[in-house]
């Protein structure tokens, strides 16, 4: 066990795979110098500059290059500096990376990892703060993971690289310097499992990425009010571990989904649809979503603070859920 920051854990997972597998390459803007946050710091020095490739500001083409290299036997890890700029690489991701295995009748595979950070932190405004994960749920052929803590980050990083499919590995900038114990050589975490972080019996709170922390804090505070909340970290969005969610809802009969992305068309909608298909008659109240308002991310501090769901809003949703009774 070692205590690592989320950022160090990502680096540790990446570096471990790069040491073991010479076909793993990193591509991205300023990655040889570590990138703007330092995730890839020191890798070029240890493994050689040719494995950590600085690119021009050409996201779409670089994504295409990486997909082409993946089709030729490399395992590229592409860094898109902010998820906001993945817009520029969507064509290659959606039309090529996601589909080539299928369209080729299984002849081709694209073992590509896309590392990207997302979310609100530091009043950077609408072009550097979005959470866009749910776009990718709508593209069969792409896997999506969003770790909330260092141990998961390291393990999911390793497995994303080992996976023979394109995987979006979505980091949250505000988590980079959060620290926790990371087990040695951890790569045991499957890419399709949610985790029950806090067991409870009255209500299920499913959260992801940075929202896991306020969900846990809300559960702790609610315990003081005599409410037992079960907190589940979704962790992997595609494939989604619906079994764990359904099992929990059958026990608690109430579900709140929490995400930082805007409410409309978010993962909350998908989770709600899937859970009601399998557990409608177990539910005692409507499934609620705690998410960002349906707006671009504003820059000014009071607006930005208002935008991001917090512990209070989660607690309020839980109380609303508990107050509502079946007719």
């Amino acid at each position: 066990m070692a205590e690592l920051s989320y950022l160090e854990a990502i680096r540790s997972g990446l570096l471990a795979e790069m040491r073991e597998d010479p076909s793993v390459y990193v591509f991205g803007e300023d990655v040889a110098l570590g990138g703007p946050f330092g995730v890839t710091q020191g890798i070029a020095e240890e493994l050689g500059g040719h494995r950590v490739v600085n690119t021009p500001i050409s996201e779409g083409t670089v994504m295409g290059v990486a997909i082409g290299a993946a089709l030729s036997g490399l395992r590229p890890v592409v860094e898109i500096m902010f998820v906001d700029f993945i817009t520029l690489a969507m064509d290659q991701l959606v039309n090529h990376a996601a589909k080539l295995h299928y369209m080729s009748g299984g002849q081709l595979k694209v073992p590509l990892t896309v590392r990207v950070q997302c979310g609100v932190q530091g009043n950077m405004g609408a072009h550097h703060s979005q959470s866009l994960e749910s776009w990718f749920l709508h593209v069969p052929g792409l896997k999506v993971v969003m770790p909330s803590n260092p141990a998961d980050a390291e393990s999911l990083m390793r497995n994303a690289i080992r996976d023979d499919n394109p995987v979006l590995f979505i980091e949250h900038r505000a988590l980079y310097f959060s620290r926790a114990e990371v087990p040695e050589g951890g790569s045991g975490l499957a890419m399709d499992r949610a985790s029950v972080l806090r067991p409870g019996t009255d209500v299920t709170v499913a959260a992801l990425s940075k929202m896991v922390q306020p969900a846990l804090e809300a559960a702790e505070a609610l315990a003081g009010e005599g409410v037992s909340a079960e907190v589940i970290d979704l962790r992997c969005l595609v494939p989604l571990d619906i079994d764990t969610l359904v099992e929990s809802v059958r026990k608690t009969s109430r579900l709140i989904v929490v995400h930082e992305a805007v409410e409309q068309g978010g993962i909350g909608a998908e989770v709600a649809a899937l859970v009601q298909e399998r557990a409608l008659y177990y539910l005692d109240s409507p499934i609620l979503r705690v998410a960002a308002p349906n707006a671009p991310v504003p820059c000014a501090p009071p607006l930005e603070t208002f935008f991001v769901p917090d512990k209070e809003r989660i607690m309020e949703a839980v109380r609303r859920s508990l107050a509502s009774q079946p007719a």
Partner: protein
């Protein structure tokens, strides 16, 4: 495209104030003072966010915008406080925007990288590198169709010169003969990477050649050189002769963003460029030509600092936007 269709028989007179060299110096000082104040307020945590300052690049902003009419349209990028000011943005409202206040141009919704001062013709900045280049083509297209004789200008960096939209925009602007002026602020770095690590094409203006667009590469720290190149570009655009590419060689004297330790650049390089500071340089020119008095020079800086102090006071005394505004103005 004929000049007649452009809606104006000949190039209109430019604003008189721009002909006065002292006013150019004053404008550069306003931008410098504004950004130094922003830097100080950022250090004091009075302004937060991700700030990219253009200290050292003022001659490009003022040189370019000084050749434009009030109704010409300007697009910027992530390093565009100076472009907005040069186009006539109100310092109070701009400072208030950076400080996230309700009195800011965008009511605090935009912030440093997303400044819009529509009434001045500064249409928008952007946090997406290269993102505004096609938008400027759209402005040029609309201006031509409406026959209003406007030109559109887009500022971008050398890094943006590697983006796909940039190259596609050069092709379309050339093909359609649009009244757009590409202003490349080649400051030698994109974030922490020198241009030579991004492209073998050392002069971005060479791309213009490929696409059949007339171009000039000028010393971007020499405001008179910038004005000269822009004058030709504007005249051509207004006369229906299509786009021009103006590459301005310059240097940012601050880090990529505020807080960037800047370890990727040699201190000697920084010192060399400090000697080429565009404001000090233009001051020397005016002195040599005896075009301004000692009082003029003193006032240029002093007045700028006073204006900026007042803007900071206005901004920091302004109310915050109400949290509920987060969800407003999503729809027109």
């Amino acid at each position: 495209m004929t000049a007649a269709k452009q809606g104006r028989a000949k190039a209109p007179a430019r604003r008189d104030e721009n002909r006065d060299p002292v006013s150019l110096l004053r404008r550069m000082w306003v931008i410098r003072a504004f950004e130094e104040k922003v830097s100080a307020l950022y250090a004091a945590r009075e302004i937060v966010g991700l700030l990219h300052l253009g200290i050292g690049q003022e001659a490009v902003a003022v040189g370019v915008c000084g050749m434009l009419d009030a109704d010409d349209l300007v697009y910027g990028g992530h390093r565009s406080h100076g472009h907005a000011i040069a186009k006539g943005a109100d310092l109070n409202r701009l400072m208030a925007e950076l400080a996230g206040r309700a009195t800011g141009y965008c009511r605090g919704k935009g912030g440093s990288m997303h400044v819009v001062a529509a009434e001045t013709g500064f249409v928008t900045a952007s946090g997406v590198v290269g993102g505004t280049v096609p938008l400027a083509l759209g402005a040029a297209f609309a201006a031509r169709e409406k026959g209003v004789g406007r030109v559109a200008v887009v500022f971008f960096g050398d890094g943006a010169g590697q983006t796909g939209p940039f190259h596609e925009s050069l092709n379309i602007a050339s093909l359609w003969g649009l009244p757009v002026i590409f202003v490349c602020e080649n400051n030698g770095y994109a974030e922490f990477t020198p241009l030579s690590a991004h492209t073998k094409v050392e002069r971005l203006a060479r791309h213009a050649e490929t696409y059949g667009i007339p171009s000039a590469t000028v010393d971007g720290n020499d405001i008179l050189a910038v004005r000269k190149a822009m004058g030709r570009a504007v005249d051509n655009a207004r006369a229906g002769k299509g786009p021009t590419f103006v590459e301005c060689l310059t240097y940012r004297l601050r880090g990529h963003y505020e807080g960037d330790p800047g370890k990727y650049r040699e201190l000697s390089q920084l010192a060399d460029w400090k000697k080429k500071d565009p404001i000090a340089r233009f001051t020397r020119v005016l002195k040599r030509r005896r075009a301004a008095s000692a009082k003029d020079f003193e006032e240029a800086e002093g007045d700028a600092r006073a204006l900026v102090e007042a803007a900071a006071e206005f901004a920091l005394a302004s109310p915050w936007p109400e949290p509920e505004e987060t969800g407003t103005q999503v729809w027109a």
